[in-house]
């Protein structure tokens, strides 16, 4: 597995250390965690799978895009694959930048692009033993700039 995907629990401290730099005055950490809320039906865990090679390449492109947009930003990221229990982080994004606004913006950009582009899928493992693929949209999402009339803002966002 490459730089960004991992089957092990995410070490957030290590990611923060990886993004840290003396010229960064603001660091924003986003954790996406497996949820079992009122919208779910008794979720015990999520099994994450990916098109591994493409997901690594896509994450490299997303992080590269963010570094271009916010040149002072330093970004560290891990996405988990395999079995992730309710409450555990499935993704951690750390964005450090000279000033807080850039750190918040870069961090937000990365998670939104992950939601839109990353070839990762989740199967809910429910407490009753059933397993269900999660379809966040009910339709295929589209990569950037595809001329079918939809814009990124039309796509669903699931945190």
């Amino acid at each position: 597995m490459g730089e960004y995907l991992s089957r092990e629990p995410i070490a957030v401290d290590a990611l923060i250390a990886q993004a840290a730099a003396p010229d960064c005055g603001g660091t924003c950490v986003f954790l996406g965690t497996v949820r079992n809320g009122p919208e779910e039906s008794g979720v015990a865990a999520i099994e994450y799978s990916a098109y591994d090679d493409m997901a690594e390449a896509e994450l490299q492109r997303i992080v590269g895009d963010a570094r271009e947009r916010w040149p002072g930003a330093r970004i560290a990221l891990r996405h988990r694959l395999g079995h992730v229990a309710v409450g555990e982080p499935s993704i951690a994004i750390v964005a450090a930048a000279p000033h807080r606004a850039q750190a918040f913006e870069a961090c937000r950009y990365v998670i939104e692009e992950v939601k839109r582009r990353l070839p990762v899928w989740k199967k809910e493992i429910r407490r009753d033993g059933s397993e269900v693929w999660v379809d966040p949209s009910g339709r295929p999402t589209v990569p950037p700039g595809l001329p079918d009339g939809r814009r990124p803002s039309d796509l669903p966002t699931h945190a």
């Binding site: 896509e58 993704i91 992950v114 070839p119 693929w133 999660v134 295929p140 999402t141 990569p143 595809l146």
Partner: protein, 79 residues
């Protein structure tokens, strides 16, 4: 070329990979059509799935070449 299926699509088709022969020039849409015709279970795939060629998202009218890795992707759900 190699066609790869993931997640729910792999379950529908009953496999994760297939070799497809097409006369060129051809597009990703041609690959979708061929796969839906030839592979049992693949008719349940959407006619216009999200697709990738050589690890990049593409439109269905993108061209394909010998040796390409074409992938059909269910709606993505990362994060």
């Amino acid at each position: 070329m190699t066609v790869r299926f993931f997640a729910r699509y792999a379950e529908l088709v009953g496999r994760e990979e297939a070799a497809v022969l097409l006369s060129l020039p051809a597009t990703v849409a041609d690959v979708v059509r061929r796969v839906r015709e030839e592979l049992p279970g693949a008719r349940q795939l959407p006619e216009r799935p999200l697709a990738a060629v050589n690890l990049k998202h593409v439109k269905l009218d993108a061209g394909v070449r010998d040796g390409d890795e074409v992938a059909f992707l269910p709606p993505v759900a990362g994060g």
